[in-house]
């Protein structure tokens, strides 16, 4: 198992054809061309991939990938 960051990047690559090399913790959604609908879809893809429940509202408060990674870590910790 890699890091949560790597897992998030893998979801971006699989769902949105985004080149993993283009993504860092500091990347904003704008930087990787995710519009507002795609941001919501990103949350849905993470929920499916990790069996968590990041809500659309929670997703809307995030703006950079590092925050997404932290949110996912938080949700994964809740599961344990």
């Amino acid at each position: 198992m890699g890091t949560t960051f790597e897992s998030v990047v893998a979801v971006l690559a699989k769902r949105f054809d985004i080149d993993p090399a283009e993504v860092s913790r500091e990347s904003s959604f704008d930087d990787i061309n995710l519009d507002s609908l795609s941001q919501i879809e990103f949350g849905t893809a993470l929920n499916k991939a990790f069996a968590v429940d990041i809500s659309d509202d929670e997703m809307a408060e995030l703006s950079v990938i590092g925050e997404v990674v932290d949110k996912l870590d938080e949700k994964l910790a809740e599961k344990v």
């Binding site: 769902r15 949105f16 054809d17 609908l37 795609s38 919501i40 879809e41 849905t44 929920n47 499916k48 659309d56």
Partner: protein, 399 residues
């Protein structure tokens, strides 16, 4: 108000015969069918389709397959027309791209998500991918075309209707350039099952020859997919920028059977009206037509009615073929794809043969072209398109 010609300065084609005009025209002139058993239709009553081979999956996450076909065809057509979208006045460029089913594969997938995972799993991209006007919308976005943008739906006549409407726009002065055509990607288990339930699809045990318009052994159509897009301009506009005119759209007729949801009127009332309207629009008679690209779906009902209409209005001695023998039936894209083939026929002086037609049904008392292409000058070609809902379109193409 007759005598208006829209110049076709670019053509783009994506069909089961290949991606691009050269691959398509070669295969259509050779009369080689493309139907095959489709693994994605496993377990269905009909498993035959005509799929676009090796189509790149770029942007598949955000564009339905039908939109990607439209974008590829539009790109090819614009390139051939020598138009550079980065430098044009976009407000004078219209997009008219029809479809019958829109992004049905995307809609079907998201409906499964709804049933299996509940509403929160339905993608927010469902409608941007699934809507029937999205191929037109995405073509406008891609090429910065800010003129009128619409997606006519007349079922299996949609692509032809789009070209007719595009020509009307040029005639009215609504636009200087129209990107017009049709796009469809309906080879899904849902669509295949629905057509199979209507007994509209061929169940031929020999898939390669299943699409055989006008043959005594035809037993239905083969589901196809693809896109056909043409660049239309007024002749003056094309001339002023030194563009080659490949062919011209000189007549457009439309009608409704007003008879039945799916069955053609037994005497082809609507089909006749559409052909007559196109001839009147062009100021021609049936005797001026030198080739008919028939709707020719390979269903007994269509072929019988359409051949009677052609015999009566055009003549029993005018060459007729259906390119659906090669492409199967790409539904809402068919009319644009076939208008493109008719344009290429007049441009090259070649009547493509009807693939898989070996034994013409005597009920079709017309000059069917099969086995091999015929060559010779064609001044005017007629392309017929008939849709469910009894919606009919006829286009006349000239050199």
């Amino acid at each position: 108000m007759t005598g208006f010609a829209a110049a076709i300065t670019g053509i783009g084609l994506v069909t089961s015969a290949g991606v691009g005009v050269p691959a398509n025209w070669d295969r259509v002139v050779a009369g080689q069918g493309t139907a095959a058993v489709d693994p994605e239709l496993d377990g269905l009553p009909v498993r035959i389709s005509c799929r676009v081979p090796d189509f790149a999956a770029d942007n598949a996450w955000k564009f339905d397959r039908y939109t990607r076909f439209a974008l590829a065809a539009a790109q090819e057509a614009l390139r051939q027309a020598g138009l550079d979208p980065s430098g044009w006045e976009g407000s004078r460029v219209a997009v008219v791209i029809g479809s019958g089913a829109g992004g049905t594969a995307s809609l079907e997938q998201q409906h499964r998500e709804l049933l299996e995972g509940g509403p929160s799993t339905v993608s927010p991209l469902t409608l941007p991918m699934g809507l029937l006007n999205m191929a037109a919308g995405q073509v406008a976005i891609e090429f910065g075309a800010t003129g009128p943008c619409l997606a006519p739906c007349t079922a299996c006549a949609s692509g032809a209707t789009a070209i007719g409407i595009g020509r009307d726009m040029l005639r009215l002065g609504t636009a200087d350039i129209v990107i017009a055509g049709g796009a469809e990607a309906p080879v899904t288990p849902f669509y295949s099952a629905a057509f199979a339930r209507m007994r509209a699809l061929s169940r031929n045990a020999d898939p390669e020859t299943a699409s055989r318009p006008f043959d005594v052994a035809r037993d239905g159509f083969v589901l196809g997919e693809g896109a056909g897009v043409v660049v239309l301009e007024s002749e003056e506009h094309a001339r002023a920028r030194g563009a080659d005119t490949l062919a011209r759209v000189i007549g457009y007729g439309a009608s409704a059977d007003a008879h039945h949801a799916t069955a053609p009127h037994p005497e082809g009332r609507g089909a006749r009206l559409a052909v007559q309207a196109a001839l009147a629009d062009a100021g021609l008679t049936g005797r001026d037509v030198g080739y008919v690209n028939a709707h020719g779906t390979s269903t007994p009902m269509n072929d019988r009615v359409e051949s009677a209409v052609i015999r009566d209005l055009i003549g029993a001695d005018v060459p007729v073929s259906s390119t659906k023998g090669v492409t199967g039936h790409p539904l809402g894209a068919a009319g644009a794809i076939e208008a493109a083939f008719a344009a290429l026929a007049v441009r090259h002086g070649v009547v493509p043969p009807t693939a898989n037609l070996t034994d013409p049904d005597p009920v079709a008392d017309i000059d069917l072209v099969f086995k091999a292409a015929r060559t010779g000058r064609i001044d005017v070609a007629l392309s017929n398109s008939f849709g469910f809902g009894g919606q009919n379109t006829a286009l006349l193409l000239a050199a």
